[in-house]
């Protein structure tokens, strides 16, 4: 298994674990009737900072990959970007048609939507890397 695949498996595991934890916390905080939503905000900002640090670290790691691995990553990133836009659009329109044009949604819905889409995009990226590697890795 090459470094790219190992990394994709780790990212996939982290995303699934993070999604479960985030969803649990989100539901808990909303059920507590807005109490602790400030904490959620702080958590969100911390998450964004952590994401930025990971992104910078990621570009350093990217230099270690060879050209084929970089191409696989680029394709996966392209799929992840599309997944992000599609999911963001779908949820926005579902919310619009569910709540109605004059209805309102709680503000915490927005960061929840953003982070949800981000996690889904990361999931798609890891999955696409693993699928592409599996398709090309028939030993000759």
């Amino acid at each position: 298994m090459i470094k790219l695949q190992t990394r994709a498996w780790i990212e996939l595991a982290v995303v699934i674990w993070l999604a479960a934890i985030c969803a649990g916390c989100f539901v808990l905080l909303v059920r507590l009737n807005s109490r602790g939503l400030d904490t959620l905000l702080i958590g969100g900002i911390a998450g964004l900072i952590a994401g930025l640090i990971i992104a910078v670290h990621q570009t350093r790691i990217d230099r270690q990959y060879d050209e084929r691995e970089k191409q696989i990553r680029q394709k996966a990133f392209s799929w992840a970007s599309k997944a992000f836009v599609v999911l963001f659009g779908v949820i926005s329109f579902v919310a619009f048609f569910t709540v109605g044009g004059k209805g309102t949604v709680p503000v915490y819905f927005l960061p929840g939507l953003f982070f949800g889409c981000l996690l889904f995009a990361q999931f798609v990226q890891s999955a696409v890397i693993l699928i592409q590697c599996a398709l090309e890795d028939n030993d000759g």
């Binding site: 090459i2 060879d66 050209e67 084929r68 691995e69 590697c133 090309e136 028939n138 000759g140």
Partner: protein, 72 residues
């Protein structure tokens, strides 16, 4: 426009070069073994610099290693 394909003789040349393994070739040209496998099987077309590095690893001109087939 027809199908474009880059065929290669890497497998043949590896055996001619004292049964060089895919791993040895990969280390010589600075890529992973999986990339060499993908190139050999025609699933991945290498960049021009990598194609030159592979050709040099065998001490052959690039046109002896890679062939560009295009069906019109």
């Amino acid at each position: 426009m027809g199908d474009e394909m880059l065929s290669n003789r890497i497998r043949r040349l590896r055996f001619d070069a004292g049964e060089m393994t895919q791993q040895e070739l990969a280390e010589k040209v600075g890529v992973t073994r999986q990339t060499i496998i993908a190139i050999e099987q025609g699933k991945y077309s290498p960049s021009l610099p990598l194609a030159f590095r592979i050709a040099r690893a065998f001490g052959r001109p690039i046109e002896e290693v890679f062939e560009y087939d295009r069906e019109l």
